[in-house]
Symmetry: C2
Subunit: 193 residues, 2 copies
């Protein structure tokens, strides 16, 4: 029984954080949505931050696993990067980790901020390695900065979500990705094509 | 006297929205920070949404004016786009309009959401025209999609803010911009260099 209640609390919090953000997610809303009693919540978790940390850890783990699956293949580097860009789903909901950065309360919490920071650090490191492989294989110019290109690609995805929410439609996300894929293809060295 | 009180309310709200977001900005916080009395606030504004709309309008007007200044010059298109990317300031605070998209209450308000949407539409239109000029001048390939490249550049800036806040430092923003500038330079047609 206990694990189910615990899991239900984490999953409900994960969804609320994703959809409403941290500040707008009250312990009361978590209880109502999960159907769990207050005593049970405080039996499993010290409080909202503790529960949010576990929920965010779960979102981060899923995100990192998905990125690793896409980026760690034997395909040419440019293809892997373009696949990463085009494999984004659930555009209007955006990134469950990236959206947390809009919440000052998250950035003020060492524990929550560290999860966000380490998630991006992990994906950046994986993506930088892909770019370095692309340089070694002659796809990218030798003076390409792997960390810079990794952050450019991460930014396009995160910013694409911002544009989609601003527009109220996922069209600008699609255009941002198309434009990025075209730039990557244009930057690819002739010798590798 | 009245214009000063009004202006103080708008400026305080603008700052709070930028730093804390819409949900976390209470009428009480606006009163405390501005030193304006409650009666005076409701004399000038119907409520929080009304005041936020005026504050957001002001932020949007400043943002649009700055973008127009950078993008509507006689410089080559690639240079104008790179200037737009590198002229971003106040990285850790981010974009006062873009950050609103993380707030479901803003997206639920027709009036606030329209300001956000129209701001991005305006900058996208201006930037698309720059890309079209670049195509006409032989800087970009004739099959370049002006709206796609415009959204890619907008996304890099908005996403760069997300990465900076996630990292707790503006370094990833700088790297994302550097990577974008390198991609734009690499995509520039040889004939125009």
């Amino acid at each position: 029984m206990a694990p189910t209640t615990r899991a239900r609390l984490v999953e409900t919090t994960r969804t609320l954080l994703w959809e409403r953000g941290y500040a707008a997610t009250s312990p009361g809303a978590i209880l109502t949505e999960s159907g769990v009693g207050q005593g049970s919540m405080y039996h499993h978790f010290a409080g909202k931050e503790d529960l949010a940390a576990e929920a965010l850890d779960e979102s981060a783990a899923q995100l990192v696993a998905a990125a690793d699956r896409i980026l760690n293949t034997g395909a040419p580097a440019t293809d892997r990067l373009i696949t990463y860009l085009t494999r984004q789903r659930d555009v209007m909901r955006g990134c469950p980790v990236g959206r947390m950065t809009g919440d000052p309360d998250v950035l003020d919490s060492d524990r929550l901020h560290r999860i966000v920071r380490e998630t991006f650090d992990h994906v950046r490191t994986t993506m930088s390695a892909v770019v370095r492989a692309g340089i070694d294989d002659g796809e990218f110019a030798p003076d390409t900065d792997p960390d810079a290109l990794a952050d450019t690609i991460l930014a396009i995805v995160q910013g694409g979500y911002v544009l989609a929410r601003a527009a109220g439609t996922d069209a600008p996300f699609g255009r941002a990705i198309d434009g990025a894929a075209a730039l990557l293809a244009a930057a690819r060295l002739e010798t590798s094509r």
